[in-house]
Structure formats: structure tokens, C-alpha cells
């Protein structure tokens, strides 16, 4: 569903130097699978996800969603992908219902179909009590759920989330991950980037660890973690080994 092949993204910094943000990353996420993209700050996670979300053009390699290439046909990718970025906010002066409605219209939904879709999202995300309150007055957890709902309004088969729990407390993070697990079980392909490993250790089917713009480890939890260890130790080991190289 989500396929990244030999992805390279270089850009020039303000001082003119070339930054190799992503330097040959490859991985795939199948339908009904949740994959964790792990890496420290500056590892290249956000850049990879932005290329997938058609917000950045790759320097080389490809990123595709449901067979559509992000560079060649960005509009087709956007119709098949839901994207929640690390810095995603919600418009303060609109209510969750209005936010879902406006993005539904952008995706060609209208009338009863749109109203039905908005009602389902409000119910499924537990936003019933605040669906008609301006988003500026919602809690961080509620706002993040609105953000996820906005990405789901067109029912995309693939979902990409960049640090979705970073602004949430423990309960908010658990609720959100419950929602994502439900979506995975319903057949969505989900790619989640995070550096809060303990939250997703038992939730994701597979993990891809990137460091310095390259994949340094990939596999299921059991493949990455040795007997008696945990994901955090495995992550540090992979990153340290890559650093030593």
C-alpha cells in the first residue's frame, strides 16, 4: 500500500551547505499493517513522511501510495492518503464538525453523504460532546483527535502520522493509539513515526529504524529485540552501530 524505494532528499540550508536529510530509504507498509518509523530528531523521519504526503519533491527514488507515485500524480496520492503532521494544528475558529465538513467538500463529498461521514467520525473519535465547540477551546487530546478525523474524512486506505502523540498526556496517547489500532484492524495501512518507543512497542506490527537519513534496522519486534530486551535497547543498539560505521 505504502511503498518507499531508494528515497533521497537533499536540500540546501540557509548557509548554502547541502543537507542529506534522506539518503536512500526503502520500506513498505501493507494493508492491515501498522509500521513504526523510529529515529532520533533529525534522523529523516519527517522528511520521508513529507515526501509521501506530496509536500516535498524527492531528489531521487520513489514514494507511492496504492500504486500512485507521489511525484508523478500527487493529487491521486492525496486522495488515497490521510496525513497528520507533527505540527498539524486545527483552525481555532471552526468547530470539529465544520472542519470535517470543509475537508470532506475538498474531497468531493457533499450533501447527505458528507453529513453521514461527519457524524460517523464524530462518534468514532469520541468527539460528541465537543463537536460544535470552536476547536480553539478543545483540549490537546481532543484537538489531536480532530486532526486525525480530518485526515480520515475521505476514508483513505493509507494513513501517515508524524509524532501523533507528542503533545498528548498518557491517557490521550492511549486513546489515540486505540483508534489507530482499530483502523489497522479494519484494513488500513498505517505508518507512524515517533520517538516515544514504549507507546508503540506492543502496537506496531513492524518497525523501521532510520538514522542519518538511512535505514539502520527493520523487522518485527521479536526480530529487533533480543531475549529479555526491549525496543528501546534495540533502537539504541541499531543507532549506535550505525554511528560507529
Amino acid at each position: 500500500m505504502i511503498v518507499v524505494r531508494d528515497l533521497v532528499k537533499h536540500y540546501r540550508a540557509g548557509d548554502g551547505s547541502v543537507v542529506r536529510a534522506v539518503d536512500g530509504v526503502s520500506f513498505a507498509v501493507e494493508p492491515g499493517e501498522m509500521v513504526g518509523l523510529l529515529g532520533a530528531n533529525g534522523a529523516g523521519k519527517t522528511t520521508t513522511l513529507r515526501v509521501l504526503a506530496t509536500l516535498l519533491a524527492p531528489t531521487a527514488g520513489t514514494a507511492s501510495v496504492a500504486g500512485c507515485d507521489a511525484s508523478a500524480d500527487p493529487v491521486a496520492v492525496r486522495r488515497r492518503l490521510g496525513y497528520v503532521s507533527a505540527t498539524t494544528g486545527v483552525p481555532d475558529r471552526l468547530t470539529p464538525r465544520e472542519i470535517f465538513g470543509s475537508f470532506g467538500r475538498l474531497h468531493g463529498l457533499d450533501g447527505a453523504a458528507l453529513a453521514d461521514r461527519v457524524d460517523r467520525l464524530v462518534a468514532a473519535l469520541g468527539l460528541g460532546a465537543c463537536a460544535d465547540r470552536p476547536a480553539g477551546r478543545l483540549s490537546s487530546g481532543q484537538r489531536q483527535r480532530v486532526s486525525v478525523g480530518r485526515a480520515l474524512v475521505h476514508d483513505p486506505p493509507a494513513l501517515v502520522l508524524d509524532e501523533p502523540t507528542s503533545a498528548l498526556d498518557v491517557i490521550g496517547a492511549r486513546d489515540l493509539l486505540d483508534i489507530l489500532t482499530g483502523l489497522r484492524d479494519a484494513g488500513h495501512a498505517i505508518l507512524v513515526s515517533t520517538h516515544r518507543l514504549h507507546e508503540i512497542e506492543r502496537r506496531c506490527d513492524r518497525f523501521v529504524v532510520i538514522h542519518g537519513g538511512r535505514v539502520v534496522a527493520a523487522g518485527t519486534r521479536d526480530e529487533l529485540v533480543g531475549p529479555g530486551g526491549d525496543l528501546e535497547q534495540a533502537f539504541f543498539a541499531a543507532v549506535s552501530a550505525a554511528g560507529a560505521r
Binding site: 509536500l55 468531493g108 462518534a123
Partner: protein
């Protein structure tokens, strides 16, 4: 939630734009700042302005009337014939003139006294006497005979003297002369009618004849400029909120993920901002209408606000200003797109609003009102057309009917809006602008972080600083161009640029393009091509200027032309070359094609951003030249030099192009001694009324050949070395 939803139909061409516009509009109207600026500001502004103006007018009229009613002229007469001449003056003062200019200046009373010299001098010094007249021996004899009596008069410089004493004294002297003339005519046996060859009577009584003076035409110009500025203000907050606000709130990425082109997103944003701007325009118009109706009652008696075509003129104004609202919305959007936050957008947009307000003000310049092409100039054109529609032509008419001018203004507004939206779409999708970090300094005096080239905002700073310096120092500018050209270049161009280069830590070589445009023949071919374009461009610009507005320019342009001709005629050729060719070419290219263009384009720009940067710096270059008539030519020069810089990566071809462009007048004046010299001199200084078709054709050929040479050399140019490509 995850049930399959009915497959959504692909959004129509404008579905996405309309959905975005609808969403933004809901957001705007829930923002109290926007509502205040849109609706309340005009409702408050016009009544305040009207009240202040009406009160000022009433006070001024009352002041003038009371002065005229109470003015008294104190005259001290000295000299050998002080006594009889004073009597003669008293006689003239006792019989005020029945008509003519003297009657209008007749004071309420006279105090005429013969005084000894020392007393008269003291009175003059203290202001007790407004005038001291010395009547020498023989004055009366000359008056009563047929000679000319010569008296000397001195006016008091004391603050206590009557301010209009000179005028009143002249009125009295004119009356003495009229009395004397009548007496001489009687003495010569001439009939009384001899001195009055024409008399005008008003059969309906004098009250019906003079029309009440109307301040309408004068007022219309100022109100239209205010309307333009306030309409622009209506776009201010919505535009900031529309894109910079989305970036600040972190919602722009979600919008860019919409299944439509960036242009459709920009179109949606534009529609929302345009709608608010139109609402501002409507609120302004309503406020003007209501205030106008109330203000009529506040006018001093005998004054009106009548205008020639209130109904048709208002309709034309409304239509023209819809175009202005569109450009205002598109301009504000385009300017704020490069900003990361609302505050940054506000800082960028404020100087632009001031610059555009100045452009709107140029519509009222006396020499420009009759020019048809001005209708196509954004912000100024709408005012020119509306003013013409409301009060009619006051000087030479533009030669086109008002509906055609309105259509021309609308077409120009539409085309410019479309271009601005395209540019905004290019900027919005630009990765560097979208994802760059905030421009923040650790404290106020810290130098900015080291960069390869300046940021977009840093790019505009020296231009704005230069214009501000020119404005504040204009009072000190000498009239002599030999001094004022270097002074102007120094404070408007060189000083801001040097200050920025010293302060900002940028790569000077990359920013200013300090490299040779290719090795060996390739570089030489590029420079020759640039020179040809420069020469051709001068004549094409001159032809365009003539086609647009004829030979007679505004007083400002005529004055500049006269001074340029004077400079060329009275200065050694090498000094003219330094002042008109070398200095502007090097300094302006370093600032505009170096600093500004590098900032607007960024490091390794996409094709779209490079095009937008060249166009934007050309607009800034044209605006910075301040004279509206010169703007099309300077814009074309900016485009050509900017394209060369981007294409070759070097500043040198741009300098050569600019230098040759500016050198043409010098060459023409040097050749002006030969056959057809006068015409050449006129072309050189922009004073010509037409250009021979052969000259225009040759100029076009030079530009085509020059562009061909540059293109040929640039294709073979090592692309990796160009920093602004």
C-alpha cells in the same frame, strides 16, 4: 467509521477553490479584528474626516471674511508734499471702486496721516503704520498735469502690521490712478465713456449670476484616494490570516494535502479575501454616501459639493473599484505568502501598503489626469477613471470614453490579479519558504545567522530604507544634477546596500553574482548580447512611453527632462558618463539584481520561484523610481536585467545592459550636432513626440539578436556554477 464511503466524485474545477473560500470566510467573520477593520473603520473614518474638514473649512472661511471685514490700512505720508498727497489719498479712499480687481481688495477703512520722517519711521517699525509713502516735491504737479508722479513706499515688517497691506496699498494706488485718469480725460474734453469701453450688466440681478463655488471636484480626488487605501486595508488582515496565519496555526500542510492544484488553493484563498475586501468597499461606499449627505449641511453658506455626473460617475467608480479590490486582495496574498507567521506577514505587508498608497496618490498629480494609459496602472488607474467619470475632464481629455477606460482598468486589474495568483501559487508550494525555520535573532543587536544569500524579508529592507532616506532627505537635495545624482544613488542605493552587506552575514560573491559570465568567447558573446538588448530596450521603452502618453509628461518628468538636457549640454562627456551610466548601472544592479534578486530567488530556486523572483524585483525596481510614467520602462529594464542575472549567474551582463541602456542618451546628444540633431536630443531626454518606425524596428531587432546571443551562450554555460539558477 471505516465503512467504505460512497466513492467521492472527483472535485470539479472550482469545487476545491469554493470549499476553501467558504471555510476561510467562516473563519474571517469569526475574527473580531477583521470585522472591525472591514466594517467599523470606514464607518468611523469618513465622519471624522468630514467633520474635521467641514469645521476647518468653516473656520477658514469665517477667518477670511472677518479679516476682509476688519482690515484697515494705516498710511503715513512723508516728504515735501506730504500734506496735499495725503489729501489726495484720502479722497481716493473715500470713493471705493465700483468693480474690477481693486474692489475685491478694498479694506474696511483707511487711516492716512502726514507725519514727519522720524515719527513715520518709528510707526513703520512698530507696525502702527502699514505703509510709509514719501511724496517728493512735484508729486501733485505731475498728477494734475500729464506727467508721471513717482512716490516711494515702504511696507512694515512688524508682526503687528496688517498682513495684506501690500495688496490693500495697491488697491488704493489703483484708485488714485483711476481718479487721476478720469480727471485728465475730463480736462482733455474726452467723454466719460472713453475710459469705460465695456460694461457688463446682469438682467436677473447680481445674485443669480455667480454660481455657488463647489468643493466637490477637489474633494472627489482625496475621497477616492482614501477609498482606495481603506479598501486595501480591508484585504490586510484576511490576507495575513489566509496563508501566514495557516502556517502559524500549523494547518497549511493539511490544506496542501487537498486533492487539487496549489493554484486552486490560492484561488480559494483569494475568493475569501476578495469577498471581505468587497465588503470593506461596500461599507466604505455606504459610509461615504451617508457622510456626504450629512456633510452638505455643515458646509459654509454659499458653498456646495456638487459634481458633474453623480449617478453615472458613482456607477463607474463602483465597477472600477471592484477591480481595485481584486488587485488589493491578490497583492496582499502574494506579499504575505512568503511569511511564516502573522507577525512576519504584518511586517512585510505594512510597507507595501504604504508604497501602494503612494502609488494611488500619484493619480492626483496634475500632469497625469488626462492620460488614457494611466487607467491600466493598478491603484492609480481606478482613481483616475473614477475621478474622470464623476467630475469630467478638467484639462486635456484622455481621448477615450469613460466606459472604455473603465473596461481598460478592469481588464488590467484582471490580468494583474491572475499573474499575482500564479506567483502566489509558485511561492506557496516552494519547499524552502514552506518549511524554513523562523528568522529570529537572540537579541536586538545580534547579527543575523550566516546565510548564503539574504532572506526574502532581508531583501526588501535596503529598498525600503533607501526610499525612506530619500523621503526624509529630499529637502536637502541640491537642484544641480551633478550633485543630486550621486547624492541620490548614495543614500537610496549604495548606503543601504553597504550597510546590509556589513550587517548581514551573507556570501557576498554569491549574493551579488561577482563572477564572469563564462570563460573566453562565451562570456564575451553574453556581454555583447546584453549590450544589444540594452540599446534596443531604450528605444522600445521610449516608443512605448510615446505610444501610451504622448510627449507631454507630468511636471515632474518635464522638470527632470529639462535638467537632464541641461546636464548633458553643460558637463564634460566623461562626467555625464560617470553620473548617468557608470554610477546607476553598477550601484542599482548591485542592489536590485544582486541583493534583492538573490533574496527573492533563494539558493537553487525552482524554475517557478526564479520567474516569480525576477518579476517581483522588477516591480520593486519600477516602484522605487517613483515616477509613474517611467514605471513601464523601468519595469522592462528590471525584467531584462533580472532574467540575465538568473540565466548567467553573473551580475556583469546586467551591468552592461543597464550601462548601454543609460549610455544611449549620451551618444544621441553627442550626435545631435549633425543632421536631425534636434530630434536626437529630444529622443535622448524623452522629449520627443514620435519615433521613426525604422528606429523602432532596428531596436526590436537589436533586442532579438541580443537575446539570441545570450541564449546561445547560456545554453553552453556550466549550470553548476550559477547560484541563482
Amino acid at each position: 467509521m471505516t465503512d467504505p464511503i460512497p466513492p467521492a466524485a472527483a472535485p470539479g474545477r472550482f469545487t476545491a477553490a469554493l470549499a476553501i473560500a467558504r471555510r476561510d470566510l467562516v473563519e474571517f467573520v469569526r475574527d473580531r479584528r477583521t470585522l472591525f477593520v472591514t466594517l467599523l473603520l470606514p464607518m468611523v473614518t469618513y465622519p471624522i474626516v468630514a467633520l474635521a474638514s467641514a469645521l476647518g473649512l468653516r473656520t477658514a472661511v469665517a477667518d477670511i471674511e472677518s479679516r476682509a471685514a476688519t482690515a484697515t490700512l494705516a498710511v503715513a505720508v512723508t516728504g515735501a508734499e506730504a500734506l496735499p498727497f495725503a489729501e489726495r489719498l484720502r479722497a481716493a479712499a473715500a470713493s471705493p471702486p465700483r468693480g474690477g480687481p481693486a474692489a475685491a481688495d478694498w479694506p474696511a477703512g483707511f487711516e492716512i496721516e502726514p507725519l514727519p520722517d522720524p515719527v513715520a519711521n518709528r510707526a513703520l517699525a512698530s507696525g502702527a503704520a502699514d505703509v510709509v509713502v514719501d511724496a517728493p516735491a512735484g508729486t501733485l504737479a505731475a498728477l494734475d498735469g500729464d506727467g508721471t508722479a513717482t512716490v516711494t513706499a515702504r511696507l512694515s515688517t512688524s508682526r503687528d502690521a496688517e498682513p495684506g497691506a501690500a495688496r490693500l496699498w495697491e488697491a488704493l494706488v489703483a484708485n488714485v490712478a483711476a481718479d487721476t485718469l478720469a480727471r485728465r480725460a475730463r480736462g482733455a474734453g474726452l467723454p466719460r465713456a472713453f475710459l469705460e469701453p465695456l460694461r457688463v450688466t446682469f438682467p436677473d440681478g447680481p445674485a443669480a449670476a455667480p454660481v455657488a463655488p463647489s468643493i466637490g471636484p477637489t474633494l472627489v480626488g482625496s475621497v477616492l484616494v482614501l477609498l482606495a487605501v481603506l479598501t486595501l486595508t480591508g484585504a490586510f488582515y484576511p490576507a495575513i490570516d489566509a496563508i501566514a496565519g495557516e502556517k502559524e496555526r500549523g494547518t497549511i500542510e493539511t490544506l496542501l494535502m487537498a486533492p487539487c492544484s496549489t493554484l486552486q488553493i490560492v484561488l480559494g484563498k483569494f475568493l475569501a479575501v476578495f469577498a471581505i475586501t468587497l465588503a470593506t468597499l461596500a461599507a466604505n461606499v455606504l459610509s461615504i454616501a451617508a457622510t456626504g449627505a450629512a456633510a452638505v449641511r455643515m458646509l459654509p453658506a454659499g458653498m456646495s459639493m456638487e459634481i458633474a455626473h453623480p449617478s453615472a460617475g458613482s456607477l463607474a467608480t463602483l465597477v472600477a473599484f471592484v477591480g481595485l479590490a481584486a488587485i488589493a486582495a491578490a497583492t496582499c496574498l502574494a506579499v504575505t505568502t512568503a511569511s511564516k507567521s502573522g507577525k512576519e506577514a504584518q511586517n512585510t505587508l505594512t510597507p507595501v501598503i504604504l508604497l501602494v498608497s503612494a502609488l494611488a496618490g500619484t493619480a492626483l498629480l496634475p500632469g497625469l489626469r488626462g492620460k488614457a494609459w494611466l487607467a491600466a496602472v493598478p491603484f492609480a488607474g481606478q482613481i483616475v477613471v473614477s475621478r474622470l467619470a464623476l467630475v469630467g475632464a478638467e484639462g486635456p481629455a484622455p481621448g477615450l470614453p469613460v466606459p472604455v477606460l473603465v473596461a481598460l482598468s478592469l481588464a488590467s486589474a484582471g490580468a494583474l490579479t491572475a499573474l499575482l495568483l500564479q506567483g502566489t501559487a509558485l511561492l506557496l508550494a516552494d519547499e524552502d519558504i514552506l518549511f524554513r525555520g523562523p528568522d529570529a535573532a537572540p537579541h536586538g543587536l545580534a547579527r543575523p545567522a550566516r546565510r548564503k544569500v539574504p532572506s526574502v524579508a532581508q531583501g526588501a529592507i535596503p529598498v525600503v530604507a533607501g526610499l525612506a532616506l530619500v523621503w526624509y532627505l529630499q529637502g536637502l537635495a541640491p537642484g544641480d544634477l551633478r550633485l543630486s545624482i550621486p547624492l541620490h544613488q548614495g543614500i537610496a542605493v549604495i548606503l543601504p546596500l553597504v550597510a546590509m552587506l556589513a550587517w548581514q552575514r551573507v556570501d557576498t560573491r554569491t549574493t551579488l553574482g561577482l563572477s564572469f559570465p563564462g570563460r573566453g568567447p562565451r562570456g564575451a558573446v553574453t556581454l555583447v548580447g546584453a549590450g544589444l538588448i540594452g540599446a534596443g530596450l531604450f528605444f522600445l521603452s521610449a516608443a512605448l512611453l510615446l505610444a501610451l502618453g504622448g510627449g507631454d509628461g507630468s511636471p515632474a518628468v518635464r522638470d527632470l527632462t529639462r535638467r537632464l538636457l541641461d546636464l548633458l549640454g553643460n558637463t564634460p562627456w566623461w562626467l555625464s558618463a560617470v553620473l548617468m551610466v557608470l554610477l546607476p548601472a553598477v550601484a542599482e544592479e548591485a542592489l536590485y539584481r544582486g541583493w534583492v534578486l538573490a533574496a527573492f530567488a533563494g539558493v537553487s530556486p525552482s524554475r517557478g520561484r526564479a520567474v516569480a523572483a525576477v518579476a517581483a524585483q522588477a516591480v520593486v525596481f519600477a516602484l522605487a523610481h517613483l515616477l509613474p510614467e517611467r514605471m513601464p520602462a523601468t519595469f522592462a529594464l528590471g525584467l531584462a536585467t533580472g532574467a540575465l542575472r538568473v540565466l548567467t549567474g553573473s551580475i556583469l551582463p546586467s551591468i552592461v545592459l543597464h550601462a548601454v541602456h543609460n549610455a544611449v542618451p549620451l551618444v544621441l546628444v553627442a550626435m545631435a550636432g549633425g543632421p536631425g540633431g534636434e530630434q536626437l536630443a529630444e529622443i535622448a531626454t524623452g522629449g520627443a513626440t514620435r519615433l521613426p518606425p525604422a528606429v523602432v524596428a532596428a531596436a526590436a531587432l537589436a533586442v532579438v539578436v541580443g537575446a539570441g546571443l545570450v541564449g546561445f551562450a547560456a545554453r553552453r554555460w556550466d549550470r553548476g556554477r550559477s547560484p541563482v539558477r
